[in-house]
């Protein structure tokens, strides 16, 4: 899912401004970073040498300071010897001198002057006389041996057992004016007084200096507690190198510098300088950050410059992109507005050449689209109009039920509405072989109708092909058509369309339309005319069905009328009295047949069949009013209905009587044991029932009469075959 989102994000289009801005920044960063990296690397190499040189100088200076501390102590001892009264070195004098010397230099903790035999002349101590001379005595012999050779002596550093402060012993020979050895002056020097000196050594801003002896023990450092703790620093790279080296100190030897872990555990540029005498080394450490401050500053400045240039490049990129994007935005806005319906809008041709060209191309495209759109609109309007007309044709056709009226009306209507040259309709004949013209416009149509013009279904004519195939044929331009055959009666025809009139998949005819304008009918408007053809076909079918139903109804009505007439004739004939009565304001009297009623008469009708009349004759000879006539009509109608009802009732009674008699006769016939008795019974009972003088029952097989139908012939033949085995006649 996450991958999909990632992909989507990646695919999200970025704006031109952002793209160009990022591009400018990236390009400038790459170029600047490459150039700056090379330059900075070269600068770093040069600066490294400079830092190393500086560090060595600082270490040398520090070494000189420490060396001076020792040298100064020697000089003080030598000066004390020089200015001592050696002519009579009494202990008191020596002690006073030693006391003065102690007062002069606080680093001297104890002083002992020995005579030429090594015996103590005097001792002076900053501490009590009884304390702390053991360590000093340990180096006395060694010091004597060296000073007797008129050399100065310095012992290794050692630690005071009580204070744990580092000490050392220094000794100088005591010589008289002639340079003869007269004894030794030995001093115990407290190196804690070197601590302040070392602490004051300035190594950059945050660097440190310290002193170690040959085993790597810390002798002097700003943090005196580490000295007092007796810390050994031989684990540090620089100190380890000093501890391991065996060569003799060379004062002018240049020591290397390295980046290593310093005394405080941080990364430092360290350098050390061996002092030689004493056998110590002075180490200086400068934190890497400070040592390479210039490099770092240079890096920072370069970084800032790169950043500034990148920002400027970014701003330039954005500015450029915006200047490029502005016409694009304008173009986009124009597109949006055009999309919103302002189709006449034109994009501003501005900005860079490519963008201007794009705007021009866009304008051309919109113009062409506009033309196309207009054309489409026109076509739509045409189709709409045609559809409208087509619907109007359908509506007009649907209201005309008389086919004889429908066809000429519609063909003329189509011609007028579509402004056509000629329209006619053909119907397929009953056998489906020919097309018979049913309607045609104008004189040409009249002439063709008069001629009962016919065309065969099938090839040979456009109309015939349409009837055969059920598919419309469009001839947009008759002059270009191969299937169109000019009709001498219609010489101006330039475009023709024949659509089938189809009902329930059956082609009942063809609507053929002709125009004196080429391209009036095309494939584009074919659908409209086909729809119109379908509507027309439906209307024609509807009209035909309506006509058929009308005929059927008429026949039914006539039959009913005839039946009513016959029934009433029979009814009236069988009556004993003439069913005619008159009222003369006194009595009702029966009228003889053939009596003229005179006056106003209204027929008494049943099922549209007059069965008599109702006459009224006014005394004054006036005519009846409409109300009176209406009353007469109503009475006549009510009378007719009642009469019909009563007649039907009588008829029903008669039928019931007949059926009852028939059932009785039938029951008797069924009771007969053989045919003869059945026949006899039938003849007797029928005679009784009908009151006939004679009834005949005659069984004989006759040849049935009727149409010479094959099937009837067969039936007759079969009947003959069935009766050939029986007797021919049986009559009673």
């Amino acid at each position: 899912m996450a991958e999909t989102l990632k992909t989507k994000r990646r695919l999200k289009p970025r704006s031109l401004t952002a793209t160009l801005g990022i591009g400018f920044v990236a390009l400038s960063l790459v170029v600047l970073l490459l150039a700056s990296s090379l330059q900075l690397y070269a600068y770093f190499l040069a600066e490294q040498a400079v830092v190393a040189g500086k560090q060595r100088l600082i270490a040398q200076d520090a070494a000189n300071e420490v060396r001076s501390f020792i040298q100064d102590r020697f000089e003080e001892l030598k000066a004390a010897v020089k200015f001592s009264d050696l002519s009579n070195p009494t202990p008191a004098v020596v002690e006073r001198n030693l006391g003065k010397l102690l007062g002069l230099q606080p680093a001297f903790r104890q002083l002992i002057q020995l005579d030429v035999d090594g015996q103590v002349i005097a001792r002076s101590s900053r501490r009590s006389q009884t304390a702390g001379s053991e360590a000093m005595d340990r180096f006395r012999a060694e010091a004597l041996a060296r000073t007797s050779q008129k050399e100065q002596y310095i012992s290794p550093a050692y630690i005071d057992e009580i204070t744990f402060e580092p000490l050392l012993v220094m000794a100088v020979p005591v010589q008289d004016i002639f340079g003869d050895y007269q004894g030794s002056l030995i001093a115990e020097v407290n190196l804690k007084f070197m601590w302040d000196l070392v602490d004051r050594l300035k190594v950059g801003q945050t660097g440190v200096a310290y002193v170690v002896d040959r085993p790597g023990n810390l002798l002097a450092f700003g943090d005196i507690t580490r000295v007092l703790a007796g810390e050994n620093l031989s684990n540090l790279a620089e100190i380890a190198e000093f501890v391991k080296r065996e060569d003799v100190f060379s004062e002018f030897e240049e020591e290397g510098t390295s980046v290593s872990t310093g005394i405080n555990g941080t990364r430092v540029v360290a350098a050390y300088v061996p002092l030689g005498t004493p056998d110590w080394a002075v180490v200086t450490e400068l934190p890497v950050i400070e040592a390479y401050t210039d490099v770092i500053q240079n890096f920072a400045i370069s970084g800032m410059i790169i950043l500034i240039i990148a920002v400027l490049a970014g701003i330039s990129g954005v500015y450029l992109a915006r200047s490029l994007a502005a016409p694009l935005h304008s173009l986009t806005e124009t597109v949006t507005r055009i999309t919103g319906g302002e189709t006449q809008l034109q994009a501003k041709v501005e900005g860079p050449t490519e963008v201007a060209q794009l705007a021009e191309a866009f304008n051309k495209m919109t113009s062409q689209l506009q033309i196309l759109l207009n054309s489409l609109e026109e076509q739509v309007q045409e189709r709409t109009a045609e559809l409208s007309l087509s619907m109007e044709v359908g509506q007009r056709a649907s209201v005309i039920r008389n086919l004889e009226e429908l066809l000429p009306t519609i063909t003329e209507f189509i011609r007028e509405q579509f402004d056509l040259y000629y329209v006619h309709v053909y119907f397929v004949d009953d056998v489906g072989e020919n097309l018979v013209i049913k309607a045609g416009t104008g004189t040409v149509g009249q002439e063709l109708l008069a001629r009962r013009h016919m065309l065969p279904v099938g090839p040979g004519s456009i109309v015939g092909q349409v009837a055969a195939s059920g598919q419309s044929i469009v001839v947009s331009d008759t002059e270009q058509s191969e299937i169109h055959k000019p009709n001498p009666l219609l010489p101006d025809t330039r475009s023709e369309l024949a659509v089938p009139l189809t009902v329930e998949g059956r082609v009942i005819g063809v609507l053929d339309m002709q125009s004196d304008q080429a391209n009036t009918f095309t494939e584009k408007n074919l659908t409209v005319f086909e729809a119109m053809g379908i509507q027309l076909a439906i209307s024609i079918d509807s009209a035909q069905q309506w006509a058929a139903s009308q005929n059927a109804q008429q026949r039914a009505e006539e039959a009913l009328k005839r039946l009513t007439r016959e029934t009433w004739s029979e009814n009236l004939t069988t009556r004993r009295e003439n069913p005619a009565y008159a009222y003369d304001l006194a009595i009702v009297s029966s009228l003889p047949p053939g009596t003229e009623n005179g006056g106003v008469s209204v027929p008494v009708t049943v099922q549209n069949q007059s069965i008599g009349e109702l006459s009224v004759k006014t005394g004054d000879g006036r005519s009846l009013s409409e109300d009176e006539q209406a009353l007469m009509n109503a009475v006549a109608q009510q009378l007719a209905q009642k009469a019909e009802t009563l007649r039907l009732f009588e008829q029903t009674q008669q039928r019931a009587t007949r059926e009852q008699i028939a059932r009785q006769i039938t029951d008797k016939i069924r009771a007969s044991g053989d045919i003869e008795s059945a026949l006899k019974t039938a003849a007797v009972e029928l005679s009784k029932a009908l009151g006939a003088a004679r009834a005949v029952v005659d069984l004989q097989v006759r040849q049935p009469s009727g149409e010479p139908d094959q099937s009837q012939s067969v039936d007759a033949k079969a009947a003959n075959e069935r009766t050939s085995s029986a007797q021919d006649t049986l009559s009673y």
Partner: protein, 334 residues
């Protein structure tokens, strides 16, 4: 039009977001910066004779960046030798959960060590004799939560004796008054006795609880040649010293060991430590502790002897002060 407007809005929103990012970054950077911690240091100045040790401590602390009332607050409690007061003050420091206790002299340091045991509050002592008492495991590794500046007690006692001998070589009966029961006195006396015996000097101990008792003790003394102070609190008490000074003046005998001047009575010399310097030494240790080093891992440092000679008083008593001795003096009163 809408697109152009959106484009401009997006550009402005981008700019605003950038500016706010920078501002928020700066604010967060500022918020992230730790406020400087304000340290609280309890100072128990338990001996008025060396009260200026506190000055030396503060001065050095200031040099090291601890500005009073800015990033360090001192709760300085000054008193003289009184164990109950010491205990109360130390207890208050513990309850206040101070960051460090700076304490002197010896008895107060011992109280501080006991009271802070298990609290994690580091203790830096000064003017404290560590020999013979259970204050530190060793000088190099004091252990626990304590370190400090050692007072070189026995050696100073010997040095005082040597100088007294140099100034008054005829003195064979020397009175040694001291605070009765003070822990550091026995080690000093133990160091002194062999030397005194070798020099033919008789040391007369005079333990007392206060100046009244001391006066009585002095009244009982006969034929004293000198009075020598060892490092203890009674003799440096002004009232007690006045009693001693009066007695010495009446008997015209030198008083030495600690340099005092009370009511016109002066001691001849003093061998002690430089209070300012030793206070500064202690400050260096305190600095290291406040920077995160465990106190018990920091070696005890030793104070240097500090020789003071009241040349005028010596001359008034007719004492000969050798040039060699004068040369060694760190301070001479003429």
């Amino acid at each position: 039009m809408t697109d152009q407007l959106n484009f401009q809005i997006r550009s402005r929103i981008g700019l605003v977001v950038l500016v706010w990012s920078v501002l928020i970054g700066l604010v967060l950077t500022g918020c992230g910066a730790e406020e400087p911690k304000v340290y609280r240091v309890g100072v128990l100045s338990g001996l008025s004779f060396v009260a200026d040790i506190t000055d030396g401590f503060k001065t050095e602390m200031t040099k090291r960046g601890y500005i009073e009332d800015k990033n360090i607050i001192y709760d300085v409690q000054t008193t003289d030798f009184d164990m109950v007061v010491y205990q109360n003050i130390i207890q208050k420091f513990v309850e206040d959960k101070v960051d460090l206790i700076f304490v002197f002299p010896t008895e107060a340091s011992l109280e501080a060590k006991m009271a802070t045991a298990g609290t994690g509050i580091p203790v830096v002592f000064d003017f404290t004799l560590i020999e013979g008492i259970d204050l530190v495991d060793s000088i190099r590794e004091p252990g626990g939560n304590i370190t400090g500046v050692r007072y070189p007690g026995p050696d100073i006692a010997l040095k005082r004796f040597e100088i007294m001998q140099e100034l008054a070589p005829e003195a064979v009966r020397i009175l040694v008054p001291y605070q009765r029961g003070y822990l550091n006195v026995p080690p000093q006396l133990e160091a002194l006795y062999p030397v005194a015996e070798a020099a033919g000097v008789t040391l007369i101990e005079a333990p007392a609880d206060n100046e009244v008792e001391l006066e009585k003790v002095l009244q009982m003394q006969t034929k004293l040649d000198a009075i020598l102070f060892v490092a203890e609190p009674l003799t440096v008490n002004p009232d007690a010293f006045a009693v001693i000074g009066k007695y010495a003046a009446e008997h015209k005998i030198p008083v030495g060991g600690a340099l005092l001047s009370v009511d016109g009575y002066d001691s001849v010399f003093g061998v002690n430590v430089n209070n300012i310097s030793t206070g500064a030494q202690a400050a260096r240790l305190a600095d290291k502790i406040l920077r995160g080093t465990a106190a018990g891992t920091i070696p005890v440092v030793s104070a240097e002897n500090y020789l003071q000679i009241n040349y005028r008083a010596a001359q008034e008593l007719g004492l000969n002060v050798d040039e060699g001795l004068l040369s060694q003096a760190d301070e001479i009163i003429r």
